[in-house]
Amino acid sequence: MAITAQIEREGLLAVIRRRYFSSLSNAILSIVSFALLAYIFWTVFDWAILSAVFSDAGGPEACQQTDGACWAVIDSRWRLILFGLYPHEEHWRSGLACIVVVLMTVLSCIPRFWSGKAISIIWIGGFATFYFLMKGGIFGMPLVDEQQWGGLSLTVFIFVSTALVGMPLSIVFALLRRSELPWISRLTGLIIDSVRSLPLLTILFTFAVVLPFVLPDWASGDKLYRVILGSALFFAAYQAEIIRGGMQAVPKGQEEAAKALGIRYGARIRRILLPQAFKSALPATINQFVITFKETSLVIIIGFFEILASGNAAYGRGEWTFAYVEVYTFIALIYFAFVFSLSRYGAYLERRMDIGDR
């Protein structure tokens, strides 16, 4: 708006001169930036669209004759990348399950559903739908074992279950850490700080490999669930500190007033402390979700066939070995779509809350 008004008042050339050529250094900066932008844009556009091969009708040979992207590899292997080793006829279930999770995420971004009850119903309901769609065994859907899950839906499964287990755990951690009883708060602080100072990978590794050593056989469970537990513990240690920060932002008078009214501990936490704490911790919480989603990809190292591993498999063997850039770009775009929209949403919330506070 402002810029069109400026152009009308001063004329286009004057505006350009003032904004981009006000001094020698500014002019150099403008020219270099413009050249770089034009170069990047043209290279990417030419590679990804103009000279690209989109259909795998010609096979890998068609790709080798052009300098552009070989999207044919995606056309030929997209099912492997997205669904992993999931049975071919049942792929629609895996796809539908992912759509359910996307819907669930979108729903929980709408302020109308921001109450403990509604969010819990959406997430537990969404997760149950996801799980039964993937696992099958009911409504005439054949049973598909967790070992066969893979690709995007495995990534999503690990992420959602991490959040579902980690979120309540983080609230418990935060409450224990701010407990008035010194030993409870100290021990919880020690646990949280030790988990936070370790890399996620070592925690995942410990849960996957070491836990069977120190637990009796009946308590070990499947490797997938142990890894989810480890990842949830890591998430909870970080999220607990975020919630604790939110709790510290709640004025002390709120809790004291509740105490003076004789409201019991449970109701005080549920009705007074947590809603206000979550409100101010919301942007940081969304940021933590974004980081957790990105870090889900680490399970590839523990040997799970999630989307990155299925991508490696898609170009690793056979005739597509040259097309690794396209496969990684495809996976990167999937991550980008999730992460970028979530973090934009977080930034939007932060701005909105800033306005509210002023």
Binding site: S33, L37, S197, V214, E295, I300, Y335
Partner: protein, 389 residues
């Protein structure tokens, strides 16, 4: 019973005993199960294995290591590799972050757009994907015979990057670099410490130059003393048969990791830099301009020092995160601390001891780094509220 429960003091004690006792019982139970399992496998727990020889080699090592060396040495190799990779990654990420962050706060919208594209592209894609990507790129460089030659004596090939090096012993290289870094540290100390605040600026500059020259000379002298006999001091890589001889080979794994950590970390640090500059109050800059400081002076005397102070605490967290990210070396086979520990677990079966060492190692790195950075933060912190506008 209810009367007892209502006794606040008693109840609090009971709760604490139950909580701490439950935790201790859990740990003890795990230890007992672990002992039973280990006995079954015939593994003797304890740290004696550290002095047994490993029987395997590592792909990359800063100190000499052979297959007959003991376990403690391989752990040290991994630890040093992690520190080495972290140091390279942190420095490169900071350089990229400062450049991109400056572009993001520039008054020129083309530069801002360029910075935004960089940050959004690399921050929204998981680091491990970028590691795999760069590793795939670097392993697909042409073989040594067709290697890409950058300048004379620098070659990019699928076996790694070859750069000219010095024919000196590892110890003297290490000592020389330490001496030089110590010199740089003293210079930073003179610049920042209270003790030298009253010193004349011209004398201070002279003192700093003197120390820099002394450190450089000392480093050169150490290198000269440690040179290998009967070889030229500078060795330039040259193609001999199927591979390069001479020079220094930077392995593909190390390059891929350093590049991806630098690019990914740079995008985060750029945002921190941007936030730091945004935190500098407009009034500060206007005041500096109105007392007649030049654009460069406004930047170097007012904007940058204030922004640095706003960045430091967040930067500390980011650095610690980046150090932890070096564990991704295991994905492509770089012998970092985590990978060395996990191979040792496979080979020796001393799971619990090695996990303990792994955790202790990372706690040590994190606490040291946090302590140093917090110390710097406290030393440069301003009293009062100059950061507000």
């Amino acid at each position: 019973m209810i009367r007892l429960w209502n006794n606040l003091k008693l109840r609090n004690t009971a709760l604490q005993v139950a909580y701490v006792g439950g935790f201790v019982a859990l740990v003890l139970g795990m230890a007992l199960v672990a002992r039973a399992n280990l006995d079954e496998l015939g593994i003797i727990s304890g740290f004696d294995f550290l002095f047994k020889s490993t029987g395997w080699k590592v792909s990359f090592s800063l100190i000499e290591f052979t297959a007959s060396d003991p376990y403690w040495r391989v752990l040290l190799v991994g630890f040093l590799n992690t520190l080495f990779l972290a140091a390279i990654g942190l420095v490169l990420a900071t350089v990229i972050g400062v450049i991109v962050g400056m572009a993001r706060t520039s008054s020129n919208d083309l530069a801002r757009l360029l910075g935004a594209i960089y940050v959004e592209t690399f921050r929204n894609v998981p680091l491990i994907l970028q590691v795999f990507f760069w590793y795939a790129v670097f392993t697909r460089f042409p073989g040594p015979r067709q290697a890409i030659s950058l300048a004379d004596g620098m070659f990019l090939s699928s076996r790694g990057i070859y750069v000219p090096g010095l024919n000196i012993t590892g110890l003297s290289a290490f000592l020389g670099i330490v001496v030089f870094l110590a010199g740089l540290g003293v210079i930073v100390w003179i610049t920042a410490a209270q003790r030298f605040r009253r010193m004349e600026p011209a004398r201070k500059t002279r003192l700093r130059l003197l120390i820099l020259a002394a450190a450089a000379l000392l480093m050169a002298a150490i290198f000269w003393l440690g040179r290998l006999p009967d070889t030229p001091l500078v060795s330039i890589p040259a193609l001999k048969g199927l591979n390069y001889r001479g020079g220094v080979r930077v392995s593909t794994e190390l390059t891929a990791l350093a590049v991806s950590i630098a690019i990914y970390g740079g995008s985060y640090i750029a945002e921190i830099v941007r936030g730091g500059f945004k935190a500098v109050g407009r009034g500060q800059i206007e005041a500096a301009q109105s007392v007649g400081l030049s654009a460069w002076q406004v930047f170097s005397r007012v904007r940058f020092p204030l922004a640095l102070r706003a960045m430091m605490p967040i930067l500390t967290n980011q650095y610690i995160w980046l150090v932890k990210a070096t564990t991704m070396g295991i994905a492509i086979g770089f012998a970092d601390f985590f990978m060395v520990v996990s191979i040792s677990i496979n080979q020796s079966g001393q799971t619990l001891e090695l996990i303990g060492i792994l955790m202790a190692g990372f706690l040590l790195i994190n606490f040291t780094l946090a302590a140093v950075l917090n110390r710097i933060n406290r030393a440069i912190a301003l009293k009062g509220d100059q950061l507000r506008s």
